[in-house]
Symmetry: C2
Subunit: 349 residues, 2 copies
DNA sequence: GTGAAAGCGCTAACAG
DNA sequence: CTGTTAGCGCTTTCAC
């Protein structure tokens, strides 16, 4: 910067003004400085800028694993939302073990102004940690009650209820659920627990009996786990005519297992997932699902985080909760018609 | 840091030594400093450290779009490889338009020590840009000849040839290829162009005729594009008994379109993709594919980038090229047996 | 409109 | 083993 100043025969301050698009710089001076900048190939040092301003212009996003399509799409949306605000995003994967998540939550991601955190293994028992957080934080996807932290999530219970109701309206009476958490304890509020609760409420509303055998614990929520759980369900001999998978990835596994077992979807078994990942549009049959408002979640979360950052650590602000809208997307796996024109195969009857 | 020093009654330097795990610090002093650190909740400022050292400890990864599963899995692998070296990763999505890619390439990602760049829209005509790059850069996934830049890629031609040979060995003679680049010009070396070249070579080796009508231009490489192209192929009336999709995502779209048209896979049409994304293991039928060595690519690329960073901008080092190993993965879509035990459905015949 | 000087938090160099 | 000093590149006063 000093070199630029020398070449342009101005002071360092003026160079700074030009770089930061400050008003009140004489056009002639400005162009002279700009010329010097290109000439010397000058590029501002953001570390230094950050040192001065206390801001890095970078936010962190911690997800369990990017290879789960939902989180990849979420990251996509978060990065896009951040870019609109000239922020970049450091992405961390913390879901592989609990300790890793604890470390991330305790320290944030280095070099960032704040963190969007989507926990996988932390639960209500860890909510005490939240009191010690001294950096801007917004939690995604789950509600840990009583915490002092902003949350962006959706109404898991109501959405799950709606999914079950959708199946019930299709005349299904033996609805299995895939993805309950293996060690379910009272008071937990993981997405899995909330959705199972919604499932039960949905059954009750539809006046369907609740059969424990139809509640299948599955973790993690990968495709192979969905396939395995479906196979177990088939082998168990329990009757069922629908599956509600607690996320789309599980549902894709279920689709495969059902297909291989010779079951017809949706005639023998209807399937609905949760998340509305892109893949679900192009399976055969295409996958009905709950659209969980991913883009709204990303946009809101980034906006909230930016506000927290701008407020600084001075005033304590009350925690906020945003619940994104959801939608039931009916596709072929629950009897919906194929979408036109793209995913309707030629010659389809 | 000064506060910590005061509380621990040592100098700032000693605090620094403790924080950086320097040797030659008296255990007593160390513990006193550590106590002060927790007491005050001190956390080092990485901007300042970066300012001093000229390093940020952050690398950039620019991919076209994270929502394409291949890139999500690549990002996953890159982040994991970076974490092993205590680096974090800023992920940018630059593939939406060409100008965006040019900007990223020209400037790198701010706040980073170097960039891993997987271009989507840039081609050989842009290779001149590479001469002006003044930061550590490693290109992923495509070879732009003659550049001064490190590349990590795979042998697209040979791999594509092997895929075609695999189909030929299965007795297929009318092999369509999905995903050729729409404006194909000579001298281009995009993955699409190289793979088409491999396709042609594979046909020649198998002594199969080359039919231009079986070469389908498709862009971008999303599932819907694969489905659409397959429908067009079906409607065109051209005979074919196999599809080689230039990536798995296209192949998934093809699987759906073929299924809806009533074609049986692999009996009527065999399908092979490219990339070995996780989804391909759980479709019905599961998808044969070319494993493109994603993890090897990520690991090598990060290692190369770290070397470039360590070398500094002083000496000009010659560009390096690493080609990852590839494998043909035979699954059901080309007649392979289902994998045991997970994705074999119960009751499968 | 522009310049001069101070200082953000840290580490490297050197001294003790 | 520990302390002192200087300076990384930038922005922010405050003068002019």
């Amino acid at each position: 910067m000093r070199d630029v100043a020398v070449v342009a025969r101005v002071s360092i301050k003026t160079v700074s003004n030009v770089v930061n698009n400050h008003p009140h710089v004489h056009p002639t001076t400005r162009s002279r400085v700009e010329k010097a900048i290109t000439e010397l190939g000058y590029r501002p040092n953001f570390s230094a800028r950050g040192l001065r301003s206390g801001r890095t212009g970078v936010i962190g996003l911690a997800v369990p694993e990017l290879r789960q399509n939902y989180f990849a799409e979420l990251a996509d949306a978060v990065i896009a939302a951040a870019e609109k605000r000239s922020l970049s995003v450091i992405v961390g994967q913390a879901g592989r073990d609990r300790q890793h998540e604890i470390n991330v939550l305790a320290n944030g991601l280095r070099q960032t102004d704040g963190l969007l955190f989507s926990p996988e293994r932390l639960g209500t028992e860890d909510s005490a940690m939240l009191d010690d957080i001294d950096y801007p934080l917004v939690l995604l996807g789950e509600r840990i009650f009583g915490g002092p932290t902003d949350h962006v999530t959706m109404d898991n219970i109501t959405a799950a209820r709606a999914a079950v109701q959708h199946l019930a309206e299709k005349g299904r009476t033996r609805i299995a659920v895939l993805g309950a958490h293996p060690d379910r304890r009272e008071g937990q509020l993981r997405a899995a627990d909330l959705r199972v609760r919604g499932y039960r409420e949905g059954l009750a509303l539809a006046e369907l009996p609740h059969d424990r055998q139809l509640e299948r614990a599955v973790a993690p929520w990968h495709q192979e786990d969905g396939a395995r759980a479906t196979n177990e369900l088939l082998e168990s001999g329990v009757e069922f005519d629908a599956i509600f998978a607690l996320n789309d990835t599980l549902a894709l596994g279920a689709l495969r297992a059902l297909g291989r077992s010779g079951r017809h979807i949706p005639d023998d078994v209807a399937v609905i997932g949760f998340d509305n990942i892109t893949d679900g549009r192009f399976t055969l049959p295409s996958l009905s699902t709950v659209d969980a408002g991913r883009d709204e979640i990303a946009e809101t979360a980034v906006a909230m985080l930016v506000e927290r950052i701008d407020w600084g650590s001075g005033v304590r602000r009350p925690p906020r909760l945003h619940k994104a809208h959801f939608d039931i997307i009916e596709r072929e796996s629950t009897g919906g018609a194929p979408a036109r024109p793209i995913d309707l195969g030629a010659g389809a009857k």
